[in-house]
């Protein structure tokens, strides 16, 4: 597969290069076929169904409505309220996780003794199933069974009865759960920064802050952007925490949950698939902005170059 990357400039491909390219395509065919089967078919099916007014419990009433479902979704206030909620969750969690994740990555990178223990301790939350962590956080903030209110003397403050308080708990649990993922990616980036660069800067009299800002961060830009991209896409598709903690009440619905409600709860396959396709398009948009706009090179974190 690397043959594709390493092939000489277009127009002057040698016979050998052409043969390698053909082999590369041949070798990747099975993977492409599987990808098409498991992603393209469901996606195509969703696109097709989104053009109908179609309810699972009344299959005989199915009728073609063109783009009406999209118009319904895009003109519905609930859709935009959901987009806003999802956006808030994404921006806050990704921002906070990047800062904490970087700090934790530094700790893991610099830890002198008990390195494995430190790394395990930091990575532990990421190993917990999201649904389980969601229940744990829900019960922790519960008025009757939770300990948070008694620890902080909040009496009977109902966390899940207010939009922003509920979102606060959701965001907190999301941060707790996925910061280790960010710090793991950043740790990989830190490991790639050549040590002599930092040493040279020290000799030149750079302070720790200057070294961080001018040497470390610029050298791991690729790792940071990849971490950002992955986390943004994950946060944008958040579902479990919301489903378990609030089930969308108090205006805490997110895009994935909205899709779930239309397709699974209402069994409105047409409208639900339209929302699902919109969610998919927004994910594509985010990925495109990162990859084209910020020039994230996914191969660079692997240290290929």
């Amino acid at each position: 597969m690397t043959s594709v990357d390493t092939a000489p400039v277009r127009g002057e491909i040698s016979d050998r290069g052409r043969a390698e390219r053909r082999l590369g395509l041949l070798l990747s065919t099975p993977a492409v076929v599987v990808m098409l089967l498991v992603t393209a078919y469901p996606l195509g099916n969703a696109l097709y169904q989104s053009l109908f007014s179609y309810r699972l419990t009344a299959p005989d009433d199915r009728r073609f409505v063109g783009l009406d479902n999209y118009a319904t979704a895009l003109t519905d206030g609930l859709f935009w309220q959901t987009v806003l909620t999802t956006l808030v969750i994404t921006v806050v969690t990704v921002g906070v996780e990047l800062v904490i994740g970087f700090a934790l990555a530094m700790v893991m990178h610099r830890a002198v003794f008990g390195r494995r223990t430190v790394r395990t301790a930091i990575l532990l939350p990421y190993g917990i199933v999201t649904v389980i962590s969601a229940f744990a956080w829900k019960y922790a903030f519960d008025v009757q069974s939770g300990f948070v209110n008694s620890w902080f003397g909040l009496g009977d403050y109902a966390w899940f009865s207010d939009r922003w308080a509920a979102l606060f708990v959701i965001v907190l649990s999301e941060i707790w759960k996925t910061t280790p993922f960010v710090s793991l990616l950043l740790l990989a980036g830190l490991a790639q920064v050549p040590r002599d660069l930092g040493e040279a800067a020290t000799v030149d009299g750079a302070t720790a802050w200057q070294r961080l800002k001018r040497v470390t961060i610029p050298n791991m830009k690729a790792a940071i952007l990849v971490a950002l991209l992955f986390r943004t896409l994950d946060a944008w598709r958040i579902f479990d925490n919301v489903f378990i903690m609030t089930a969308g009440q108090e205006k805490t619905q997110v895009l994935s949950f909205l899709t779930y409600q239309q397709i699974i709860t209402r069994t409105e396959l047409g409208l639900g698939n339209a929302v699902g396709v919109l969610l998919f398009l927004s994910v594509v948009l985010i990925a495109a902005v990162f990859i084209k706009g910020f020039r994230v090179d996914l191969s660079q974190v692997r240290g290929d170059r």
């Binding site: 009440q249 069994t267 929302v275």
Partner: protein
């Protein structure tokens, strides 16, 4: 499949009553061995299958297997499944499979299986509000008139009505349910009120709770239970949410009516007073029950299971031992003093899948066994859930265990079921969306907005 059954058995070896066969793992493979098992052993197998959540396909050799999808309980339905299997004498055996715990998710799982024509579902424990939707979609096998007669004779009319769609019986009433006003006698004394008085209203209830600085536990989360409350209030005020439900998305929406506004006024008054639980907008049945045991506990609107649950908690030492003796009960409060209240209706009906292999013979026999008066009585004694036949309420065993049985009987007889419509999930979801949180309800706007929203949702013109 056989292998999976055995795995499920191994996964939970210490189920009480499960005796290991000397032939060990091989038993599941041979019919006769399976038939020789004792009833207790069958109960054990049923339980382990619950744990495995299987959709098995007749593992026991020659004996046809009926898969019964049940709502979670404390083992009462598994016991009935085992005893019906025994009574069938090898004709069929019933295996239970567990559904999720809340009604909405039970419906979601069943609808997916039924829409896919899953032949691994034979019997289902259905929430009554799901019956019209499933019946209208052709998911349920209707009972013929001769099959229906023994399933409906001597059964509460409200239970039969909510199992019927377009004149045909689609599910057999198994147990009925209703809410009572549970109260602490000491609090009622202090407040100087008599909740059992004929003209006891919501207004008096809220005022008394505010006066004594106690709470009224209700279910105010954004879920089905909140619609139960709203429907009971509207029905008690003499109104209804929709009518002409058979019209589907053109049904008449009547929630924007004087009755709807009265209901909204009561919800608003309670939710904004100190009598509301601090977590009212997230309370479901159990958290609301917990409020009556707390330091500010006073009143509770909740289902019949409360009596058993409170006694159990007191015995286990989870709550103060004196609470059950202090617990009183009364009929659902009125909205206006001169008009009888219409308590909520609930329970479980047994439906037969239209896609099961034995839908025309064995499944029908099994339904008859499950819903027999003896099994209803046993289920009430086992689970604290209320039988669907009024005659059972005068049974001495029941009266001994449930001193409020006559009140429950009258309450179920007067209960008003939630709207019967194939689009119930949409109607319920739309109401929840506009009436939640309870503190935001405004009598002059909420009923009107919810009426408009229900219409838009039914026509597929709005997201939910």
């Amino acid at each position: 499949m056989v292998e999976r059954i055995e795995q499920a058995g191994r996964a939970e070896p210490d189920v009480p009553g499960r005796a290991r066969s000397p032939r060990g793992r091989a038993t599941g493979r041979h019919g006769p061995g399976g038939r020789r098992r004792t009833g207790l052993l069958r109960a054990g197998v049923a339980l382990t299958l619950v744990a495995g959540g299987l959709t098995a396909c007749g593992g026991g050799g020659g004996t046809p297997t009926l898969n019964w999808y049940i709502n979670p309980d404390n083992g009462g339905q598994a016991t009935i499944a085992a005893s019906c299997t025994k009574a069938a004498g090898g004709k069929y055996r019933i295996k239970t499979a567990l559904l999720p715990s809340d009604a909405t998710q039970q419906r979601e799982q069943l609808i997916r299986r039924l829409a896919a024509q899953d032949s691994g579902v034979d019997l289902m424990s259905l929430d009554p509000v799901f019956v019209p939707e499933a019946a209208n979609a052709g998911f349920l096998r209707p009972f013929t008139a001769s099959e229906a007669a023994p399933l409906t004779q001597g059964v509460f009319d409200s239970a039969v009505r909510s199992s019927t769609w377009e004149g045909k019986l689609y599910a057999a009433p198994f147990w009925a349910n209703t809410q009572l006003l549970w109260y602490r006698k000491s609090v009622a004394n202090k407040a100087g009120i008599d909740p059992t008085a004929a003209d006891f209203t919501w207004d008096k209830l809220i005022d008394a709770a505010v006066r004594t600085n106690t709470t009224i536990g209700v279910q105010g989360n954004r879920y089905e239970g909140y619609v139960v409350w709203i429907n009971a209030l509207i029905a008690s005020a003499g109104g209804r949410i929709i009518s002409d439900a058979e019209q589907g998305d053109e049904a008449k929406i009547e929630i924007d009516s004087p009755a709807g506004r009265q209901a909204a006024a009561i919800i608003q008054k309670l939710a904004r007073s100190r009598a509301a639980s601090p977590t009212l907008s997230t309370d479901i049945e159990e958290p609301s029950r917990a409020t009556i045991n707390g330091p500010r506990g006073g009143f509770l609107l909740n289902w019949g299971y409360v009596w058993r649950a409170e006694q159990g908690d007191a015995e286990a030492g989870a709550i103060n031992k004196n609470i059950p003796a202090d617990l009183g009960w009364a009929r659902y409060p009125r909205v206006s003093p001169g008009q009888e209240s219409r308590p909520p209706f609930g329970g479980i009906e047994i439906g037969v899948s239209a896609y099961g292999k034995y839908r025309d013979d064995l499944a029908i026999e099994a339904v008859r066994c499950i819903t027999s008066p003896a099994n209803m009585k046993r289920y009430m004694l086992d689970e604290g859930n209320v039988a669907a036949r009024p005659a059972i309420f005068t049974d001495p065993d029941i009266l001994k265990e449930f001193p409020m049985a006559p009140l429950m009987r009258d309450s179920i007889a007067a209960a008003t079921p939630r709207p019967a419509t194939p689009y119930y999930a949409d109607v319920s979801g739309a109401i929840q969306s506009r009436w939640h949180p309870p503190a935001s309800v405004n009598p002059s706007t909420t009923p009107r907005e919810s009426a408009e929203f229900i219409r838009a949702v039914l026509r597929g013109q709005a997201l939910l």
